[in-house]
């Protein structure tokens, strides 16, 4: 043992240098993530003249003129409201259909189970936003074109595989014995689900619902293809990229980013649990 021990001081130096590099690396990565967002918010919280001015300050002037300009711009509030409506609908649709499927996969063994599971996983190998193209035609025929529901259906298709896989793992994480114990203590299957499984799964289900919300909130392509009058915020910003002034773009960008920041913070505990099992 003694012949491999590096003399005390030198090892300490190496350690200190290592720790410094490690810390510097972390700091660099943190700056890499945060600084661009900071710049966006500096722009959003400065007056339009500052946004287009040069050189720029690296600190916002907290002049809300850009935000007001954005808020009062023709169609913005409407788009914002549409985005929220579509995202909420997406959340309800994807969890409403995904959670029962996830529960069935986690609790039952039945012919066709593996087929369904592979099917769901397989959808991830397809560029789902492209679905908007054929659905645009289908929606015109059914009157769903340019509606909040129509877009929400497409977004629900984007979010459904995740909802199924995430709830599958959530329910799998709740021991079957808890449910069985409830049955032996007088519960029907439904009662056991409501009294035992649901309270335990609820935070996780809420997290996956938030995730579905974010998927819809952020989606650009399908939203741009499927809406004309009832644009969501992303579609609105995309369609007006060539014509809108910079302050509008940046305030809009900030409006897109802010809820995402909050939501990711809200579900941060579940992010890793959700993705861990989405692997299988």
């Amino acid at each position: 043992m003694s012949d491999v021990t590096i003399p005390g001081p030198r090892r300490e130096e190496v350690n200190r240098a290592g720790r410094f590099l490690f810390g510097a690396g972390i700091a660099l990565l943190v700056l890499w993530v945060l600084v661009p967002i900071w710049f966006l918010f500096v722009n959003a919280l400065s007056a339009p003249s500052e946004v287009t001015g040069f050189p720029k300050r690296f600190w916002p002037s907290f002049d809300l003129a850009s935000v007001r300009f954005f808020w009062n711009f023709q169609g913005v509030t409407n788009a914002l409201w549409n985005s929220i409506k579509v995202a909420v609908l997406t959340m309800i649709l994807s969890i409403g259909m995904g959670a029962p499927a996830g529960y069935a996969l986690s609790r039952f063994d039945f012919p066709g189970k593996e087929f369904f599971r592979v099917l769901v996983i397989m959808t991830r190998a397809f560029p789902l936003p492209l679905l908007a193209l054929p659905l645009a035609v289908m929606f015109i025929r059914t009157g769903l074109d340019d509606t909040v529901l129509g877009l929400a259906l497409v977004h629900a298709m984007l979010a459904l595989p995740f909802a199924v896989l995430i709830t599958f793992s959530l329910f799998s994480g709740i021991p079957v014995e808890l449910e069985e114990a409830a049955w032996t203590l007088g519960c029907t299957r439904l009662q056991a689900f409501v009294k035992v499984v649901l309270p335990l799964a609820l935070p996780g289900i809420a997290a996956s619902a938030v995730f579905a919300f974010v998927i819809s909130w952020n989606e650009v392509f399908a939203a741009a293809v499927l809406t004309i009058e009832n644009r969501t915020l992303t579609a609105f910003l995309l369609q007006s990229l060539n014509v809108s002034p910079l302050p509008l773009k940046f305030a809009g960008g900030a409006a897109l980013v802010l809820p995402a920041l909050i939501f990711i913070f809200a579900v941060r505990k579940y992010l890793f649990a959700m993705w861990g099992i989405a692997n299988r």
Binding site: R124, P127, L238, I264, N279
Partner: protein, 280 residues
Amino acid sequence: MNRALPYLLLLPASLFLLVFFFYPFGLVVVESLTRGGEWTTENFTRMTGHWKFSTAFWNTIWLTAIVVPVQLIMALAMASVVQKLKTGRAGLLYIFAIPLGISDLAAGLVWLAIFEQSGFLNSILHAFGVIDRPQLYLGYQSLWVIFLAVCLAEIWRATAIMMVIIVAGMGLIPKEYNEAAEVFGASAWQRFTRVTLPLLRPSLQTALILRILMAFEVFAVVMALGGTTLPVLMGETFQWQFQLQDRGVAAAYAMVILGLSVAFSLVVLRLLHVPKGARI
């Protein structure tokens, strides 16, 4: 009743997949192969005949080829750093995960704030005295800068998703394997390449497939940073569908993206195949 229950639970999700996944994809295939109600390959000849096609194709491929490997390395580095950390882990993970919630459009706008003429890059260079007048970066004269900006924005935005999947995967690897390797004399680097990486294959599969698919779908980032100056496949699909109102050619583009996605998914599955008995 009990035997039918799992199928009843799967029914909504299955029907939904049928109507909003299989049926529309069938429609795309048909639409790409028909014109005016007749079977033809004209959509494909029109697509490949257009001068933008090969640029869009190769731009997409190059973008993927550059961005994905960089992201894989960064994600692995971030995950390893986080794994080593004893304090502040949760906070750091949250910061690293933030871009996960940011849409590609917002990411494009974030980097637009940096690269536009009155943007922060010019302001920084000015502050350091490198330039005295703002430079135009995102013009059609300097396509490679647009390309670089898109690369940076993509790396910035979508590394988080790989990082989260990899962190989740690392969490599934029992510490004992690394400790055993250490006892048998493996250095930190050897432990990483010979124990962690091979055991991480399922997570790497998921991460790479998801990420490569997202790379083929790149759209809003490019629109935000370069408009249509830098053509990519998804952008062209959008143009044909929306501006040129030619759904046949748009469907042909969709088939190209679909084909690339499926092909690369299969390649990743094959390369990172884990035999059934060799999983954790």
